[in-house]
């Protein structure tokens, strides 16, 4: 009997020790599942999920194209320990096989690489509009899916709540700086004459909606959330609509835009309002919405009636 008591005591001690160890980390998984660590090791070749997972506090152990992450995704910053998988659309399967990975999370752009992961389970999570108009739910749902996949639904819920707060904060900040700027058109230049205008089924719709602003569009977009337009089409926008240009914008294109007769006549920066936003990952999830709101709260708008 005494032996049993001692054993029970020892067990309690061990358990509390374990508990104190894991209390710093938010996940508890049985050790049988994970011999190498006590959290799910995720590999996400895709940037959208990688960014959302990182912002959530559960960064993947590897993602693709780490070399240009800062240029295209910006925030959140990736942990220094992350492994580079090579080109995003060609994640180095041989390398993935050498990593202690529990799960690959991708989306349907990566289906061609699916059968290269061997026996590692792969799940698809896609943040995109379900219908013709992207809604807040289209971005919260995939985030919850990610939470379920990493066995930590609470982390996802906390992150969603936090994101909503962050976006509201950005919205207030923006309201103080530019109270008059209510309507926005969002474009990204391909070259000086051709651009993509992001429309209702892109992530700009829910982001601006959360900030009580309106997204102005010219036409219905394709399934990727944009409609190709030419510079002359911008004349159809009214003077109150503020044009947001999403970077990156190559210096060459910039010089060509300045040379454009139409651009000069449109008067962006003088009679019309224009602003330039740092890159945001267009096909991203919740973290792209937050980055976008943060970028917008710090944007400097020029011209028009907004100031």
């Amino acid at each position: 009997m005494t032996a049993l008591k001692w054993f029970a005591l020892a067990l309690c001690l061990v358990l509390t020790a374990c508990n104190s160890q894991t209390s710093t980390q938010k996940t508890t998984t049985s050790e049988a599942e994970n011999s190498h660590s006590d959290r799910m090791n995720i590999v996400s070749p895709d940037w959208g999920n990688a960014a959302t997972l990182t912002a959530m506090g559960h960064a993947p152990i590897a993602t693709g194209d780490v070399r240009v992450w800062d240029r295209w995704v910006g925030s959140p910053k990736l942990p220094a320990s992350i492994t580079d998988l090579g080109i995003r659309y060609q994640p180095n399967a041989e390398l993935i096989a050498q990593l202690p990975v529990d799960m690959v999370i991708d989306n349907y752009f990566y289906e061609h690489a699916r059968n290269l992961y061997g026996d590692v389970p792969a799940e698809s999570v896609m943040s995109a509009a379900k219908g013709e108009t992207a809604t807040w739910a289209d971005y919260t749902e995939p985030t919850r899916e990610l939470g379920a996949l990493i066995d930590n639904p609470k982390m996802a819920e906390d992150y969603i709540a936090q994101s909503q707060k962050d976006i509201q904060l950005a919205s207030q900040q923006f309201q103080q700086r530019y109270p008059k700027a209510k309507k926005f058109a969002v474009v990204q230049f391909a070259d000086a004459n051709n651009m993509r205008m992001y429309v209702a089924n892109s992530l700009f719709q829910p982001a601006l909606e959360q900030m009580n602003r309106k997204l102005v569009v010219l036409g219905k977009g394709n399934q990727w959330g944009f409609v190709p337009i030419r510079m002359g089409d911008l004349a159809q926008l009214d003077d109150e609509t503020c044009l947001l240009i999403i970077d990156p914008l190559s210096p060459i294109t910039r010089a060509e835009i300045d040379d454009s007769l139409i651009w000069q006549r449109l008067g962006y920066g003088n009679t019309r309002c224009v602003g330039e936003l740092p890159p945001v990952w267009i096909y991203g999830g919740m973290s792209s919405l937050v980055s976008l709101a943060d970028n917008l709260s710090e944007v400097s708008l020029k011209g028009g009636e907004v100031l």
Binding site: V68, R71, W72, T83, D84, L85, G86, I87, R88, Y89, Q90, N92, A93, E94, L95, A97, Q98, L99, Y108, F109, H112, A113, N115, L116, G118, F189, A190, D191, A192, N193, N194, R196, N222, W224, F226, P228, R230, M231, G232, D233, A235, Q236, P248, S250, P251, I252, T253, A255, D259, S260, L261, I262, W263, R265, L266, Y283
Partner: protein, 711 residues
């Protein structure tokens, strides 16, 4: 190609016991109705007097037809977009409202740019043709445009500040370098027409391969480049129009004093020299003019292929001989051709609901245009000097080569870079799952391409034939792309099976076209078909890229030739297919050898020509498609390896075929290994590496082709 030219041509597998390891077996195909096919400008009519009225009538009919089409398309465009009175089109832009101004620029400025750019490219091509006396020369075929484009791409990616206002200089340097490379390679053979075009072709494919890798690597950064590379003509200011007007005027001024020396030079260099023409100075000047103008057009509007070639070929088809007239006509035809293309692109935009670059359109329209043109050139006066790299016949220890290839595959699987850096890795799980399948599929692909190359070179009696050069691989890739895009709308899933069928039909269509043409035109012209098909694929790819479908990134990387998707479960199928096709090709060696002597001879010897030819074609189509599906259309294995086998002493077809198969496998495995581990975890596509290795080797090889004896 006429029957007598057929029999005059040396079969590729002619068996020489010459002591030289590299000799040029060359022979001018005497065309029945020409007294001396050399020393004449291309397609100069023999009797100008009787034909002259007829010719000028045809010229006018063609010009009027083209002009009418262009006018009609312009009118349709105006009708569709311009709501104000027509006279308003020409009032200063600042007096219009913004929307009208945008439309005015979109229609008028774009048309001006199209006319001038097209015209200039036409003139450039004619100048090039005068310079090298070769009706196939043009800015597209000699790689001038690609050089300029690659230079622009590199600078845009790495030194954007340099490219902002220095685009023309950058493009000029690129154009000069690529042109210099092509000329330097063909100079030892005294600008042998086919060697020149081949050098141009190889340089073209090489530079395109490098550009492809850059785009793959900097996909997002080169986003703006993509639309520029596709050649958008749509304008939003008058800058480009003004720049091109000035260029055109300067060009006219520069060309006038050149007319006389060029006329003299087109007859005979030595005589021109005697008459006091500074030949080399004139040549250098022409090269300079060509490079400057091409660079200017490219830096202003992007890459516009085939317009120059089309215009120049039309001029040749019309049989205009006076150089001044040739240049003027080329300007007019080029201008009208590009205007028409640009208008068609603009008219299609609202229908297809996407922006269509004129450059991609010229690429797509280039192939049919070329085919039509070369069909008109029945009695082409191209001096078909056939470079043949013959080797000294030596006995080959096949088992050694076989063991060598196996050793290479073993090494490629063992000596790798992994998560801990370089080392010998014996992790069987990784090897069996990733390394072996990829090395084996590279081997199978290399083998198939090499066999297809040998078969095609023997069948067409053209040492430059190969699945890549003749456009068979491009045809297969085009079939796959179209299948990928169109099958879902037909209610079929785009799986491996359906894609295989669509790829096969593409390859087969190109092959049938080539064989059909091979009976009608000289072998040199056949190469143009390949260029055309490849450009068609490029055009379609540009359209696809611009459609903004992110899934096509995968397509793009596959097209650059990678073994990325090799699977342990499927690689054995690929090896099985390769083995079966290889055995079949071995069975066809005998009739193929006889066919190589010419169809007439083969018939007399009792070979059933049509069935044998057809079965060979099916075989080549299957080989090309299987390899294209495995690693994409880009590589030089099919062109290079047969020559390599010959130079190693496998002169007879029975020996050339198996040795080429082994060599092809070996080279592809090495290329694949380099691509996979040199910049691990990033990858370079095996096809691109093979194209660079093969292209480099081949350029080194043709450099050694001496001048033909009959000059």
């Amino acid at each position: 190609m006429s029957a007598n030219a057929d029999t005059n041509n040396n079969p590729i597998n002619n068996h020489t016991d010459s002591a030289h390891t590299m000799t040029l077996a060359s022979q001018a195909a005497t065309v029945s109705d020409s007294s001396s096919p050399l020393n004449q400008p291309p397609n100069q009519p023999n009797s100008q007097t009787s034909l002259f009225a007829n010719l000028s009538w045809r010229l006018w009919a063609m010009l009027i037809g083209l002009a009418a089409l262009s006018l009609w398309s312009s009118w349709a465009l105006l009708d569709q977009q311009w709501t104000r009175p027509l006279s308003d089109l020409l009032i200063p832009s600042s007096q219009l409202d913004i929307a009208s101004m945008a439309i005015q620029l979109h229609i008028v400025a774009t048309s001006v740019v199209a006319l001038l750019a097209g015209g200039l490219l036409g003139v450039v091509s004619i100048l090039l043709q005068q310079l090298v006396k070769n009706p196939l020369a043009s800015d597209t075929t000699l790689g001038v445009g690609v050089g300029a484009q690659l230079a622009m791409l590199i600078v845009t990616l790495f030194l954007p500040s340099l490219a902002i206002y220095g685009g023309i200089y950058v493009a000029f340097v690129g154009a000069i370098i690529s042109m210099g490379l092509v000329f330097a390679l063909s100079a030892p053979s005294r600008f042998n027409p086919l060697i020149l075009i081949l050098a141009g072709l190889v340089v073209n494919i090489l530079l395109a391969a490098v550009a492809n890798v850059l785009v793959l690597f900097f996909a997002e950064r080169s986003n703006g480049m993509l639309s520029w590379a596709a050649g958008f003509l749509a304008q939003n200011s008058w800058h480009t129009s003004i720049a091109l007007v000035i260029t055109a005027i300067l060009m006219a001024i520069v060309c006038l004093p050149l007319l006389k020396p060029l006329t003299l030079m087109s007859l005979d260099d030595t005589q021109a020299k005697r008459l006091g023409v500074p030949i080399n100075g004139i040549r250098a000047l022409v090269v300079l003019v060509v490079a400057v103008v091409t660079a200017l057009v490219i830096s202003e509007v992007g890459l516009i292929g085939f317009i120059g070639l089309g215009a120049a070929s039309l001029v040749n088809a019309l049989g205009i001989s006076a150089i001044g007239k040739r240049l003027a006509t080329a300007f007019g035809l080029g201008a009208l051709l590009l205007l028409l293309t640009s208008n068609v692109a603009l008219l299609l935009e609202p229908i297809l609901d996407m922006q269509i670059p004129a450059g991609a359109m010229t690429g797509i329209l280039g192939a049919p245009l070329i085919i039509w043109l070369i069909l008109r050139q029945r009695r082409a006066r191209i001096e078909t000097v056939t470079p043949m790299l013959t080797g000294k016949h030596t006995s080959i220890a096949f088992w050694r080569w076989g063991v060598g290839v196996l050793a290479i595959i073993m090494l490629a699987c063992l000596f790798v870079q992994d998560i801990n850096g370089w080392g010998l890795s014996t992790d069987w799980a990784l090897t069996q799952q990733y390394r072996l399948p990829r090395s084996l599929s590279a081997a199978a692909t290399g083998l198939m391409l090499a066999v297809a190359g040998v078969l095609l070179q023997t069948l067409t009696r053209n040492p430059m034939a190969s699945p890549e050069v003749l456009g068979v691989s491009s045809g297969a890739a085009l079939g796959v792309i179209l299948g990928f895009l169109l099958l879902p709308s037909l209610g079929l899933s785009a799986g491996a099976g359906t894609l295989l069928v669509s790829g096969l039909s593409g390859a087969m269509a190109v092959l049938l076209l080539i064989i059909w043409l091979a009976r009608r035109v000289s072998s040199g012209y056949l190469l143009l078909v390949g260029i055309g098909i490849a450009a068609m694929m490029d055009g379609v790819m540009h359209m696809v890229k611009l459609s903004g479908d992110p899934r096509l990134e995968a397509m793009l990387s596959w097209l650059s030739g990678t073994t990325y998707s090799a699977q342990p479960s499927t690689v054995w199928y690929l090896i099985g297919i390769a083995a079966i096709l290889f055995v079949l090709s071995l069975l066809l060696i005998k009739p193929l050898r006889v066919l190589g002597l010419g169809t007439g001879v083969a018939r007399n010897l009792g070979v059933a020509v049509t069935p044998v030819t057809l079965s060979l074609l099916v075989l080549v189509a299957a080989l090309s498609t299987a390899s294209t599906l495995a690693v994409g259309p880009l590589s030089f294995i099919g062109l290079m390896v047969p020559h390599l086998a010959t130079s190693l002493g496998a002169v007879k077809l029975e020996r050339q075929l198996p040795l080429a198969a082994l060599l092809g496998a070996g080279v592809m495995v090495i290329a694949d290994w380099i691509g996979r581990y040199v910049i691990f975890p990033y990858e370079l596509p095996a096809g691109t590496i093979a194209a660079i290795i093969g292209g480099g080797y081949f350029l080194w090889l043709i450099r050694k082709v001496p001048a033909s004896a009959n000059r």
